[in-house]
């Protein structure tokens, strides 16, 4: 559940809720409704390992340094052999003889496991799972995510009352049926079009588009809309936003001086790649190793800016070796999270405590990324540091050129060692490492070059069990608000078990080996044309009681729009949006002083100079991203600060968001021009109210809502007709004036009404 700003929770006390949700978590682990397992068996991957990993592995797991009593519970051989003490932790089939059971059930606090100092406790339900599992012979399985996916059969749905539009639905419905739930009916057409228009373009539908869809009664009407939207260049802009988060894209270097960098041609490469539906395997290969491809094109070299979007310091006195090591480590972490869904940060300093990832694995990956022709930055004014490419935007090859930092391999690989405690100046000379993928995920591809290109080819190969799963999961999250694996950044043992493991694997194999291999557009089309996606979002209490987090998708989840969508929608509804694609970043409205009060004195991004004209009204993804002071409207609505790879945005609900949506200059100017066009384009009050409401919510207002709005309008008209100065003051918001022929008092009243509508829940949420 999302918590409001003060951690408050309504309807129930916070304590009650927490206890309840913990209980539910335990229950679902223990195999009641959501997990759907029988009482007799305990599934190792789904039920047992999460308990062992969370409660035991810290001292009895892969990390050799913190191992207690030489007992490892992650390895069956160790767990079932007599330990130092002589006792045997697990005697398969004999829980009563297993020291593990004795210790977890002990009431003696010196004996009891986990010990008090771990601050962990095992609930009765969890203890029961372990007991059942040992009773059944304590079978271990390899962690599911490290086993390559195999295409599972699509479930047959016998009950024909449910709509199955494609294979995705069969998996979803089969799971719902096991929990005695049914999918929701299809959403109303207006809501559906708004939902899919936002999801595919990041903008709302126009009233004309809504009308056309409502009028199209032929079969395939919805699919025609989907194809229209997928063909729009806005699709690439929409998809790029999330990738910029993953790739930690920013327009400054971060750190002390936070100076301007000119990486934006790479941002345009991302937009173009999505619009061209560049196959995802190539999308990966080119970003990781485009420079190493035979006869690499300038665009393929440009793609490798992905590896250099990290922060860079040119602070006086910084030590070159320390920061070059930092940048290489950042590349490893970004590649690890983006393409493998694994958290490599831990094993930079020590073996992973929960996953079979070793320090050698981290530095084995780092060895791919630490041998480029870069030097420590010293000039704190440079727009880019070598290696770089001077190039125009791939969207406008004839346009202005900019210098972009890219990858270029050095003549000889840098000798790489495990760094003790992760310290750049403590290489352990006894532990040299060579370039290779993490051992638990398999060996390098035979015959592949021992460089980033070899790694990239391995990443996209069927030998890598993770890339396809991680990618379809992240895309699933983009549309349904949560992944099939909720922990999108962690497919390791501490991560969440998939809600629909078969669907995840089916999607992964279909994405990689299906009729349109690695086509993101095809996968997206499959998702948005499914009956699952087309469901109503209405929350039905009986269903919510069974599945409070909507894990099983018995409805479409209502989701607040992203920061970019909120701003873009307002500009679009006002008729202000500039449709220009790509190019140099722009500087929209921003309260004065935000850069000045924080910036370093010698930074070239010390003073914010606002754009003028059409550049004010570009889509938000073109806003200049200063890392030490990101655009306030974006961060208030939960955009990350782009200093590190982020694969998931949380949606908070805070009073600062309310203030921003009510009072920010762009929002107010949009309200003014939305009011102006509404007055100009419609003749009567009901028509005007309906049109304005529809532009922002996509819906036709209900009678009761029209009543509320027209009463509100009357009050506001009276107010501003009596106070022309206030009306004139209000209308001064923004650089674009309203047409002079409209009566100022009436326009002011309509503007405040538009401001209200832009703040409606129905406007801020897609449902």
């Amino acid at each position: 559940m999302k918590l409001a700003v003060l951690g408050m929770d309504f309807a129930r006390g916070p304590l009650v809720t927490r206890t309840l949700s913990r209980l539910l978590a335990v229950l679902s682990v223990a195999g009641t409704p959501l997990a759907g397992a029988g009482a007799g068996e305990a599934d190792f991957n789904r039920e047992v390992r999460p308990i062992l990993a969370d409660k035991c592995y810290a001292c009895h797991g892969p990390d050799a340094k913190s191992l207690e009593g030489k007992l490892r519970l992650d390895l069956r051989a160790s767990a079932t052999a007599p330990a130092e003490s002589g006792a045997t932790a697990i005697v398969p089939g004999r829980p009563e003889k297993s020291a593990l059971i004795e210790r977890i059930e002990s009431t003696d606090k010196d004996e009891r496991m986990p010990p008090p100092k771990s601050h962990k406790t095992l609930h009765a339900a969890e203890r029961a799972v372990l007991k059942r599992w040992i009773e059944a012979g304590a079978p271990y399985e390899k962690h599911w995510a490290f086993v390559p996916p195999v295409r599972p059969p699509v479930p047959e749905i016998r009950n024909s009352q449910f709509v199955v539009r494609n294979s995705l639905d069969a998996f979803i419905i089969a799971r719902l049926q096991r929990a005695d739930l049914a999918p929701a009916p299809e959403a109303e057409r207006e809501r559906l079009l708004r939902r899919v228009t936002f999801d595919l373009t990041g903008l709302p539908p126009t009233p004309e588009e809504l009308d056309a869809f409502l009028a199209d009664q032929q079969p395939g009407a919805y699919e025609r809309q989907v194809d229209r939207l997928l063909a729009s260049p806005r699709y690439g802009e929409r998809m790029a936003v999330r990738w910029l988060d993953v790739a930690r894209y920013g327009d400054t270097n971060g750190y002390l001086h936070d100076v301007k960098r000119t990486g934006w041609p790479w941002r345009d490469w991302v937009i173009k790649s999505f619009n061209d539906d560049l196959p995802f395997d190539r999308f990966v290969i080119e970003q990781v190793a485009g420079d190493l491809l035979p006869e690499a094109t300038p665009e393929q070299v440009l793609a490798t800016a992905f590896c250099r979007n990290h922060l860079i310091t040119a602070e006086g006195g910084t030590i070159a070796a320390e920061y070059l090591n930092e940048y290489a480590a950042d590349r490893v972490q970004t590649v690890g999270t983006a393409f493998l869904g694994l958290t490599f940060n831990c094993c930079r300093c020590h073996d992973h405590k929960f996953d079979p990832l070793k320090q050698e694995d981290f530095y084995g990956l780092q060895a791919y990324f630490n041998s480029i022709t870069e030097k420590h930055a010293e000039n704190n004014k440079a727009p880019a540091y070598p290696p770089l490419i001077e190039t125009a935007s791939p969207l406008a090859p004839a346009g202005p050129k900019a210098k972009v930092m890219v990858m270029q391999e050095a003549a000889t690989p840098t000798p790489t060692f495990v760094l003790s405690r992760g310290q750049y100046d403590l290489p352990d000379k006894k532990r040299p490492v060579s370039r290779r993928p993490p051992e638990v995920l398999g060996a390098p591809l035979p015959g592949a070059p021992e460089n980033r290109l070899g790694l990239a080819r391995w990443l996209v190969s069927p030998q890598n069990p993770l890339l396809a799963r991680v990618t379809v999961n992240r895309l699933w999250q983009q549309f349904f608000g949560a992944g099939l694996v909720r922990s999108v950044d962690d497919f390791g043992m501490q991560g969440d078990y998939p809600t629909h493991p078969e669907l995840l694997d089916w999607l992964a194999v279909e994405f990689r080996d299906g009729p349109k291999p690695w086509s993101v557009r095809h996968l997206v089309r499959q998702i948005v044309t499914s009956a699952t996606y087309r469901q109503s979002s209405r929350i039905v209490a009986e269903v919510a009681a069974k599945d409070p987090e909507n894990r099983l998708l018995a409805r479409f989840p209502r989701q607040r729009l992203s920061a970019e969508e909120i701003r873009d929608q307002a500009i679009f509804a006002a008729g202000l949006l500039s449709e220009e694609l790509g190019g140099e970043p722009v500087f929209p409205y921003q309260p004065p002083g935000l850069w000045e009060e924080r910036a370093n004195g010698s930074s070239n991004t010390r003073v914010y100079k606002r754009s003028d004209g059409r550049a004010l009204y570009r889509r938000s993804l073109y806003t200049f991203w200063k890392r030490t002071a990101p655009p306030p409207l974006m961060t208030i609505f939960d955009a990350p600060d782009r200093t590190a790879c982020v694969v998931r945005r949380t949606a908070t609900n805070t009073p600062l968001q309310a203030l921003a949506a009510l009072n920010e200059e762009q929002g107010l100017e949009s309200a003014k021009l939305l009011a102006a066009r509404t007055l100009t384009e419609n003749a009567t009050t009901p028509a005007r109210l309906t049109s304005m409401y529809r532009r922002v919510t996509g819906r036709t207002p209900a009678e009761a809502d029209l009543g509320t709005l027209s009463r509100g309008l009357d009050t506001l008209l009276a107010r501003y007709r009596a106070a022309p100065d206030d009306a004139a003051a209000l209308l001064r918001q923004g650089a674009t004036p309203a047409p002079a022929d409209l009566a100022a008092a009436d326009l002011a009243a309509w503007m405040l009404l538009a401001n209200t509508l832009l703040n409606l829940d129905a406007t801020l949420v897609r449902d």
Partner: protein
């Protein structure tokens, strides 16, 4: 309908009727929203939140004021008095003292490391021990020697500002972890429904300015509502707080009533309680529009109080102004009040820059301690003062009798604490004769954090959050210790 939902809808209907019957602020024929919401526990954010079982034990302090000196003040010229160095002017720092530690690139190339004794006089101020030597640049602060505990043996591994500040504020040198204020908001929740629980204020200093990053007060992997809210100088202290010109408060009220009426209908049709949370947040925003100007309006402060903080107190955005704001926030229950005063990075001239810098902070911070004390708030407010590292005993650049600069020095520096949970009037830890190495009781940032959390009733090993498969905590994985001997 599910019983919980039933209860929830009925509750709201009941409240609606109650509000309507009371008449009050009825608008557009709808319920009197403000009143309704004020009475409705279902939608009003309570001054609460926080985690169950927190605090872990009875806290001495309820809140923190962290006076962060960004840029790293010289310990040698403020609190770590080394009179013996006067004899050693321009002598080389012995290699045995300097050891093999890494130096920043700014001085690592120097041919010599000549000792630069402090040029400033020190005065011994009475405390609970044999007195506290404080530079005369900080005379007012020295007068509070009976209240403060100076830790002279702070240390860090960071030698550059970015990672150094980030470490002090988040317990990790790389950006992305939650700041200590966010951790406290997460663990303890808020004590005021009308103000954020974690507030940040920045004042500009005189010396070289380093950048400040919003990640320093970020929530990292904690829920976003725990991030610090920056209060800015001037008449828009919270971003977008003010309604536009031409919109009066009663207009805003009407608009919010209309908005809530529409949103409430939306909630009833789609069954999503998040809509009600949104209504509540708009109401909190409305209350902040009143509570923040009230907070920033000093007209209820006596002349004596204002005088105590010094003349700068009337300049919004000054350190003095922010110190008084800090006291006003403390009174109102803000959990974590973070001040940053910039400009302590005195590579070039300690002699020229430090006096001005100290003048900015000295009187206001002493006044803050006095003011908290006279209002009975000092005992329940933990005040912390310090930067991200210390400065070198040897000179950076050319040393003359009247001129020296100092480079970054991670091996020792001084911070002080006062108020709730802290034993006043003592010092803790010692450096060697050169203020170069720690002679006794090294204290890491994690130790400092653990001690701060302890004063707030929190066992630092139990303030955790699961992220990327690990139970993350402010104080990291290596053992850290609470400084028990400085506790009250």
């Amino acid at each position: 309908m599910h019983p919980l939902h039933d209860h929830w809808f009925n509750l709201n209907r009941r409240q609606m009727l109650k509000g309507a019957a009371a008449g009050g602020l009825a608008f557009l024929g709808g319920p009197a929203l403000a009143q309704l919401l004020a009475a409705d526990t279902a939608t009003t954010p309570r001054p609460a939140g926080g985690l169950p079982d927190f605090p872990h034990f009875a806290p001495k302090a309820k809140r923190v004021i962290y006076l962060y000196m960004e840029g790293a003040p010289s310990q040698l010229d403020t609190f770590d008095h080394k009179p013996g160095l006067r004899e050693m002017f321009d002598k080389d720092l012995p290699d045995s003292v300097r050891g093999t530690q890494r130096l920043t690139g700014m001085t690592s190339g120097q041919a010599r490391f000549p000792i630069a004794p402090s040029i400033f006089d020190f005065t011994r101020h009475a405390n609970q021990q044999d007195g506290l030597w404080v530079s005369d640049l900080l005379r007012h602060t020295g007068e509070m020697a009976g209240e403060i505990c100076v830790v002279k043996s702070m240390m860090t591994e960071q030698i550059n500002h970015g990672p150094g500040v980030t470490f002090m504020q988040t317990g990790h040198q790389l950006p992305g972890r939650p700041s200590i204020g966010a951790w406290l908001s997460y663990g303890l929740g808020s004590a005021n429904a009308d103000l954020p629980s974690f507030v940040v204020m920045i004042s500009q200093g005189r010396g070289q300015m380093q950048a400040l990053f919003s990640h320093l007060w970020g929530a990292g992997f904690l829920p976003g509502e725990h991030q610090g809210v920056q209060f800015r100088a001037g008449n828009d202290p919270v971003l977008f707080l003010n309604d536009p010109k031409g919109v009066r408060r009663e207009d805003r009220r009407k608009v919010l009533d209309m908005l809530a009426e529409l949103n409430r209908r939306e909630a009833e049709s789609n069954g999503d309680r998040e809509v009600l949370a949104r209504i509540a947040q708009y109401e909190m925003a409305y209350r902040m529009q009143a509570s923040v100007p009230e907070l920033t309006d000093f007209k209820d402060e006596s002349e004596a109080t204002l005088t105590m903080y010094g003349p700068d107190v009337r300049k919004p955005g000054s350190y003095a102004y922010n110190c008084l704001m800090a006291r006003r926030m403390a009174e109102r229950g803000v959990r974590f009040i973070q001040l940053y005063h910039r400009g302590w990075d005195h590579h070039g001239s300690v002699v020229k820059d430090l006096p001005m810098q100290c003048q900015d902070v000295d009187q206001p911070q002493a006044a803050l301690l006095r003011d908290l004390r006279q209002r009975g708030l000092l005992d329940e407010t933990l005040v912390v003062w310090g930067g991200e590292f210390g400065r070198t005993t040897y000179c950076q650049g050319k040393l003359t009798a009247t001129q020296y600069g100092r480079d970054h020095h991670p091996r020792c520096f001084s911070v002080w604490l006062a108020g709730g949970g802290i034993q006043g009037g003592i010092s803790y830890g010692q450096t060697d004769d050169f203020s170069y190495n720690i002679a006794e009781h090294p204290v890491s940032a994690h130790d400092l954090h653990a001690t701060m959390l302890h004063c707030l009733g929190i066992d630092h090993t139990r303030l955790t959050h699961k992220s990327q498969g690990l139970d993350m905590r402010l104080t990291g994985v290596e053992p850290s210790k609470v400084l028990r001997s400085i506790l009250a």
